[in-house]
């Protein structure tokens, strides 16, 4: 009984303990560290799946079970709480699904390149999970700082001038962003006197008209901080440089960091500026819709203009978060639950695919003179005389390297360009059918979105196929030597993508219910402040 009650805090505690434990190990004991890291991420996945199942609730509770955890056991509006609902459970599972392959991949080579990689990685996971679970704005800030502090360390992992230069820009950008966050939080507290998200969503309809502009200003300033993380144009110029400079596994896990910004925007705008918000309903929707589309266009130009796969992948991250931000804005305008559900599904599948792409970049460019091979876009002078025979040196390298890499790359392309068989297509179809089927949105906003969405898919296809042809067909260099430990995560990610495609109905059912719950802020706010459950919790923990 006690254990199930306390499971909600496990996604924060597991990486914290694992990360702290590994600080005690010497740098030379890498195997032990790797073992602890992988055990911790696997434990996270199991906890996240258990929490996901719990958040589905029972038919009695209307298919939504809002569980919460009282840290310090203070009564609900006063203390710090962790809240688990469908959306946060979905994000927890997504992070855990990405963390395992990334960690395994890093274990092959990358974690040797610098100190405390494993600990920093775990602290990053802790910050991510905390940000998804927290129920009040100030702890959101604290967990953001935890994950950012870890990400500063991770970005500099491996050292080198490029990383340090990108690091300075990245850190300065995020420090200023954090200050924006604080100003916004302070303004909101000054107006409403609360920081609890649930209480805010109940109060927002009753704010005095004279105070409302101040509240909006606070929300907008806070929104800037999240939009910097999410990479909304024009706040996104730091992103491609940072992602390109960072080590492969770091860039892979960073691709979920933009989704933290997206998550917070989704959570807060649906909760605070949803239907019950009175005059504030739909605040910021225009900015999200048009800003998201601008981000997608920026990403499209970036993808088409990129010479290297790294830069291209970074712009694909921008396209992905721009799409979801636009869809959130449309949902705020009344775009309907199907649209939002499709956007959530799209977010999951595109995050998986961009992560995989970041993991693919390094093996694909290995032993080909690095970036030089990627630059050789007009390198048709090369003949096709090279026979693609593998040289098996050492026991761990896998034959047929190029075949496996090519297949994984193909899966990435299909998902990111949203071509039919795989999950990216399902996500986009769900979004578009939701938008056009309901018809609640005016044409001047839905048609541009449709056009940009199609354009982004086409540009992705064009850009990635160009790189793919260069690397896999037109290349005359020897196939790179790739370790089994670097293949395993790719295979794992491919199988996850195939799984969410085959079981697309189940995933979409879940995201449907999530989108419905998000459209009804009362489910969250009443679920959190429900007195019966809080007393039960108090009694149980008191015993």
């Amino acid at each position: 009984m006690l254990a199930t009650e306390h499971l909600i805090i496990a996604p924060i505690l597991i990486p914290l303990i694992a990360g702290a434990l590994m600080l005690l190990y010497d740098e030379s004991q890498r195997k032990a560290k790797l073992g602890i890291s992988i055990a911790s991420t696997i434990a996270l996945l199991f906890v996240a799946i258990e929490l996901l199942n719990r958040s589905k609730g029972t038919p009695l509770s209307g298919g939504n079970e809002i569980s919460f955890y009282l840290l310090g056991n203070w009564a609900v509006p006063f203390g710090i709480i962790l809240v688990l609902d469908r959306l946060s459970a979905l994000m927890l599972v997504l992070v855990a699904m990405l963390a395992i392959p990334t960690m395994v991949y890093a274990g092959a080579n990358w974690h040797k390149q610098g100190q405390h990689f494993n600990s920093l990685f775990q602290f990053l996971l802790m910050g991510l999970n905390g940000a998804f679970l927290t129920g009040d704005l100030f702890n959101l800030f604290v967990f953001f700082e935890v994950l950012l502090a870890a990400s500063y360390g991770l970005l500099l992992h491996g050292s080198g001038q490029v990383k340090v230069r990108a690091g300075i820009h990245y850190i300065a950008m995020n420090l200023v962003g954090s200050l924006f966050f604080l100003v916004g939080v302070a303004l909101i507290y000054g107006v409403t006197g609360t920081l609890s998200m649930a209480q805010l969503s109940q109060m927002v309809g009753n704010i005095a008209p004279s105070e409302r502009p101040l509240f909006h200003a606070g929300a907008a300033i806070m929104g800037v901080a999240f939009l910097i993380k999410a990479g909304l144009w024009p706040l996104s110029f730091w992103l491609p440089i940072t992602y390109m400079a960072s080590a492969a596994p770091v860039a892979a896990i960073f691709s979920v960091m933009t989704k933290v910004g997206v998550y917070v925007i989704l959570r807060l705008s649906m909760l605070i500026f949803g239907l019950g918000a009175g005059e504030s309903a739909g605040f910021g929707a225009d900015v999200l819709v048009w800003g998201g589309m601008a981000t997608m266009l920026f990403g499209v130009f970036g993808v088409l203009g990129s010479q290297g796969l790294g830069r291209m992948a970074a712009h694909l991250v921008l396209i992905s978060s721009g799409t979801v931000l636009s869809a959130i804005g449309l949902a705020l305008m009344g775009g309907g639950t199907v649209l939002l559900s499709g956007a959530l599904y799209y977010m999951v599948s595109s995050t998986l695919a961009t992560t995989m792409l970041f993991l693919l970049i390094e093996p694909m460019t290995r032993e080909q003179g690095g970036i030089a091979a990627m630059l050789a876009l007009t390198a048709d002078a090369y003949g096709l005389d090279a026979d693609e025979e593998d040289e098996e040196e050492g026991g761990l390298a896998i034959p047929g390297t190029m075949t496996i890499l090519g297949l994984c790359f193909g899966v990435c392309v299909i998902v990111l360009a949203s071509l039919p068989p795989l999950s990216g297509f399902i996500g986009k179809v769900a979004m578009l059918s939701g938008m056009l089927g309901v018809g609640a949105l005016p044409g001047w906003v839905s048609w541009p979105f449709l056009a940009v969405l199609m354009l982004s898919g086409f540009a992705t296809l064009l850009g990635l196929v160009r790189i793919g042809i260069q690397t896999f067909w037109a290349s005359d260099s020897k196939p790179p030597k790739v370790l089994a430990m670097e293949f395993a995560p790719l295979i794992l990610l491919v199988s996850i993508i195939v799984a969410i495609t085959l079981r697309g109905d189940a995933v979409l059912r879940y995201t449907d219910a999530t989108a419905r719950a998000l459209h009804d802020p009362l489910i969250y706010s009443v679920g959190v402040s429900e007195p019966r459950r809080s007393t039960v919790t108090q009694e149980e923990t008191g015993e």
Binding site: V142, E145, Y152, V164, I168, A172, V176, L179, A186
Partner: protein, 119 residues
């Protein structure tokens, strides 16, 4: 009191923003410090300005809440100070590494052309 405090916040924030936009890393760090001072005072002032009122209430019994200062912003400010102090320190380390690696304290890691650098 309100005028003095808001003027202080304004001056700190303005100087901070100006310095953050400067090309030298040291200026950026000082700018971030000034900005975070401004933000900290701002958070503090959001608990409403009071003079001579304690923030901690006695335990038990009925207390007149109006006699006490709002304790929450004070707690928030404490957290914010610690966090911004720590991250600024980390930034300082990265800055010094950059100076060591590139030999310049320019934020881009390389000196711009003499002619194009405007003061």
């Amino acid at each position: 009191m309100e005028i003095v405090l808001s003027a202080a916040i304004g001056v700190l924030a303005a100087s901070g923003i100006w310095l953050v936009l400067r090309p030298r890393t040291f200026q950026v760090v000082i700018g971030l410090c000034l900005l975070s001072y401004a933000v900290n005072i701002f958070i503090f002032s959001m608990g409403r300005l009071t003079i001579g009122k304690p923030a901690i209430m006695p335990k038990g019994g009925w207390v007149n809440a109006a006699e006490y200062a709002d304790p929450l912003p004070q707690a928030l400010v404490l957290t914010a100070i610690v966090i911004s102090f720590a991250t600024t320190a980390l930034f300082l380390v990265v800055m010094m590494v950059s100076k060591g690696l590139t030999g310049t304290d320019h934020v881009d890691g390389s000196e711009p052309d003499r002619n194009s650098e405007g003061k």
